[in-house]
Symmetry: C2
Subunit: 266 residues, 2 copies
């Protein structure tokens, strides 16, 4: 049977999703834990190969197993064998053709930026502390320009992952709460480092070093050298992945909405 | 001159606020860092002696120094000499009679509870994972009963800190977002373990083990043995302390409101 897992992890202690010999990766730990449960040699496919330090609240991964296990049993067994910074939020049996990566129709990422002068202890592992005032309105305007279907080569890491450079951005939203900025972006696909390069360029807009229209101009060049620096990995969060059909009971929305408004302020 | 500091810390790595020989405490690290800056033997008074593992977003502490230093210099020098899980959010020169503890008029604490089945990697250090459905309405009703001025002995740790047991709870608010519950409580003073004992008892209400009226009944007994267990330290956050006058430029509200609604959900 084919099984889909809904995963949350704090990427801080890991060299990213993908198995690499000699390093500690999310996929590596999951495959090891799955080995104990369903046997060695499991192929686990993740919707997104998140980079070192990137977090996930709703990563999805699929694997096949000849063993007929209740999804709840798989979830409990994996959580018992994984470190507490990786959690299986849900597990479900899915149709054999469902592939976490190829079947994904939409991915949503969040990026957190703190413009205030002092980095906050609670957020230091999840927020890029820019530490200077940012023009959020200019940044919001910059992001609006890039909505829709475009060739995003200018925002793709040099030596990117060899997929077609055209992506469709369905939604780009910048939310401001005091000195904290949150970007939420959803697209049918993302190029390597795309969100972080968009954020790095938008922060230059926010600092007044580039005009708001700059993101559109950079996009048109298809030249990575025209874009700004790559924003740090630890501000990036894979929020959710959508498929043609809901994979998990309750629509997979197991992460409480409270994460959106979780910690009361002073 | 007398200086007030506005402090945020992640209490996870510390044995609480108060200096204790041979242990790593917030006050201890601050006094050491102050020693380098203004000389040895500084007496630093904190508004609240937070317990081991308790966090703070708006702790206030005062000290005297014969050196005339700009508050911004003190702030920068301390932040340069403190670990990143302790931050000075603001520093200000205050009147000589202002004592962080004795002059405090109101303190506000937050307590976070997660009722969902799987603990969330991002919140594990800041939220009590109860892991079972909680009747938030019953808990809210239970907290409403204890508003106002009462003898809170029943919710004070055995061998509490020898202050009068009467406190005035100005506000008690329970916010629910999905499976996440946040309690915010403000009072003129708190007894030792008071918030954690209130939460431990309210969770028994939420689990259906006690009626909503129970908190009032327990209060009337003045008997600690009638209350529920002490909720874990890591869910508790000192949010803010209020004084007769504002201490910090901008009212000390340096923690972005975004903390209230920080991480976008999936």
């Amino acid at each position: 049977m084919r099984v889909a897992l809904l995963l949350a992890y704090d990427g801080g202690a890991y060299h990213g999703w993908q198995v690499q010999p000699g390093t500690r990766t999310i996929q590596g730990l999951l495959v090891t834990a799955l080995g104990r449960l369903v046997g060695e040699g499991v192929t686990l496919t993740g919707a997104s190969r998140t980079d070192a330090g990137v977090h996930a609240l709703g990563q999805v991964a699929t694997f096949d197993t000849p063993r007929s296990l209740a999804p709840a049993t798989i979830q409990a067994a994996l959580n018992a064998n994984l470190p507490t910074d990786i959690r299986v939020l849900a597990a479900a049996s899915v149709r054999p053709g469902l592939d976490a990566r190829r079947s994904a129709r939409l991915k949503r990422y969040g990026y957190l930026i703190h413009a205030g002068p002092v980095p906050l202890p609670f957020l230091r592992a999840h927020v890029w502390h820019v530490g200077r005032p940012l023009d959020a309105a200019a940044m919001g305007a910059a992001f609006r320009v890039i909505r829709g279907t475009h060739d995003f080569s200018a925002f793709c890491a040099a030596g990117g992952r060899g997929r077609p450079p055209t992506c469709t951005l369905f939604a780009v939203r910048l939310v401001r709460r005091g000195s904290l900025l949150g970007l939420v972006v959803s697209a049918d696909a993302f190029l390597h480092h795309m969100v972080r390069n968009l954020v790095g360029t938008a922060v230059e807009v926010g600092l007044g070093r580039r005009p708001s229209a700059s993101l559109g101009d950079v996009l048109a060049t298809r030249d990575r050298r025209q874009a700004g620096p790559t924003a740090p990995a630890h501000g990036l969060h894979l929020l959710s992945v959508r498929y043609p059909e809901p994979l998990f009971p309750g629509g997979g929305r197991r992460v409480p909405g409270g994460l959106r408004r979780s910690v009361p302020g002073p």
